[in-house]
Symmetry: C2
Subunit: 232 residues, 2 copies
Amino acid sequence: MNPGAQHSDDSAAQPLRSDAERNRGRIIAAARTVFGRDGLTASMASVAREAGVGIATMFRRFPTKEELVAAVFSDRMDAYADAVAVALDDPDPWHGFVGYVEAACAMQAADYGFADVLTMTFPTAKELEERRDEAYQAMLKLIKRAKATGRLREDFDPSDLVLLHMANAGVVNATGDAAPDAWRRVVALMIQSFEAPARGPLPDSPEHDALYQAMLRASPEGPTAPAPDKSG
Amino acid sequence: MNPGAQHSDDSAAQPLRSDAERNRGRIIAAARTVFGRDGLTASMASVAREAGVGIATMFRRFPTKEELVAAVFSDRMDAYADAVAVALDDPDPWHGFVGYVEAACAMQAADYGFADVLTMTFPTAKELEERRDEAYQAMLKLIKRAKATGRLREDFDPSDLVLLHMANAGVVNATGDAAPDAWRRVVALMIQSFEAPARGPLPDSPEHDALYQAMLRASPEGPTAPAPDKSG
DNA sequence: GCATAACTGGATAGGGCAATCCGATTGCTA
DNA sequence: TAGCAATCGGATTGCCCTATCCAGTTATGC
């Protein structure tokens, strides 16, 4: 991707040895493939196998799955943030909004891993979360402007986009390769429901904190270990 | 639930011994709890632990997870079919339709296992699939009548309900206990998008067969074994 | 070239799960 | 109540996962 550069990590204490850097690249490439195919539930071991490196190498470079996820999806998160920026540039705020929603959901459909990333949060992955926040701030503007034109319903809440991503993830995960475009119909329906005038009131949005908790709960420490043995 | 009866299985070759029947009941009760809490990805072993029976007993009674799932959710599927029947009795077809959708999604939210069941299909679980089909036939009528009143958009397709369930499962799984009512807002939005007049055209529905494949793919043989080691 | 610190990956510990085996137990019937 | 067949459940096998350890290998600076 960017050969010659030490991995773009500000905390780069010291450059890796050339072979280490090469393996790091392999691991990330492999993770891109595996996460994209299997979602974030894919095991570290399977990524190591795909990369053709030892398990130890895997864990030495990325002690936690979160770090690997951050490394793999930071550039995709860039693209995501860019999509919001593009939408903000659209002279027609509603058109921009719709385009953004479709683009974001398309990214989810194209990469099962990213579909998971958009509905989870990774507190320790600063780079990733900063980008997410950046996109979020831009989205707030986008929403405000779309409401101002009267095309977006007044009671639309930013958290509705998170819910949309969760719903879309459900569709994408369930339909998979068997019906790869099914999500488009669901997203189109959702967008039509966002359009003003509202056809009726809506139940309240979830509390901001609650939704954040949900996004935390869903992160690798959650589903990866299916039952946190509270039962035992 | 129905004490004294041999488990309502038409193929009941011969009644189980009393202790076996007792254990069978325990297993089903435990599975109800565990599947409800953890979804269908819960392990057979965890169900056995919850039931307080040996693993062997578990597998002797339910050689495959599908059989256990069928035994556990057949009555919930009854309730589901009933909900459609109730909706059909409603003098206002649209009101009935909306009520049914909300009830069905509420069932998903109340039981993670059932949320999975509604987006999967289990070819070998006749009892379950018959009920599903029964509900489906009734739904076709319900949809037809709701369209006839002009309240349901013309291009609504029965498969949209499957997609809705997939989307709802995504929301319910992601939000979990942290935001237990978030799904209501999503479902309300979806319902508003179902309402006529349509605000615009929709992408085509997925092919019937493709959606069926998707529901097959998602069944226990799928996600339960996360990566079907095509990689190995 | 050579020394050495960095790096590698196989081995291993520790845990969970699906599935089967078999000696001990228990319900049932004559 | 006695005997048998059905049933029980712990032990076991085989597989995959996370995470760590360590002896062998290699890139790099001198």
